[in-house]
Symmetry: C2
Subunit: 205 residues, 2 copies
Amino acid sequence: MSDLILHEYAASGNCYKIRLTAALLGIPIERREYDIMKGETRSAAFLDGVNANGRIPVLQIGDDYLPESNAACFYLADGSALIPADRFDRADMLRWMFWEQYNHEPNVATLRFWRHFIGESALSEAQRSQIPAKEAAGNAALALMDTHLGRTPFFIGSRPTLADIALYAYTHVAEGGGFDLGAYPRLGAWLDRISALPGYKAIDA
Amino acid sequence: MSDLILHEYAASGNCYKIRLTAALLGIPIERREYDIMKGETRSAAFLDGVNANGRIPVLQIGDDYLPESNAACFYLADGSALIPADRFDRADMLRWMFWEQYNHEPNVATLRFWRHFIGESALSEAQRSQIPAKEAAGNAALALMDTHLGRTPFFIGSRPTLADIALYAYTHVAEGGGFDLGAYPRLGAWLDRISALPGYKAIDA
């Protein structure tokens, strides 16, 4: 594999997913930090050279740039046991990863960002008006995960896959967004299974 | 492959993606229609039997159910030329598919749904207040696609992949959301390349 550089903001769960995937696979990556609070991913140099979409994370592979956290995890894990060999299971893993970006991240991660990083008093009126809907949708996402984890130890059967890593990243810090993880005991047990995996690294490691 | 049943609302771009993938691959699928305007995907039977997340599309494969449009496309195309054989290109295809669900669909598709299906006068105040932000984000997504398509005939090089299908579905009907596709000529030429592909089927076919 070419040299890998992760362009990131370390506290972002989307960036952590990629580091956790690399850690579980024993793949070394260099890290380059951008302060999103200071707009460092909206500079001309970043937009032209790293990601025209102005967002981190971006995984740099030699001279190629790969945005989108779950795509970067897929690149790292391609050919490993973190992606199921079975055709249905492989698609079902992607199902949970797309669901994470559409139903989980815009609610659970956004409320964490608003409350824990920006601060509720600094939110715009438009942001504040979206809080109740995001709380409801975030809790619905956590409840759906909790129900699923009552039937299976990991999202796709008995072994961890990228679906677990993608969903772990923002779930395990959801309390920063005001979510009560104590309400979801099966989800709590799954969080413990993830953090016990060989090679696991914490978000602040 | 087991018998395939698509649980869908035919006018949805997310459902169309799956039909278009199947059409381009020559895979027959049975279709089962639900009226989302009447809440038919929130019934107990649907939530228990088809998708606990209460959404279409769901691709049924024998006795297994696969929600999330882009995951269902991946299942159908797995092993075909619609998924690149190269490791970076495969991840880059997924990059555009995740980007579609996060940056494109919630703006371009949501405005089409609000304006073309619900009708602007029937929107809630909360929905109405989100229109300017969704217009700006939707146009930013279309502009980013237009720039990319100035460099390459399809999203991943010279051949169509699932990234093209995923992005085509809501882009080609974006005018229903109030977007002016005439402002994006390279994108327009790409739409024509997609509709000229052998096996292509229209959204209302």
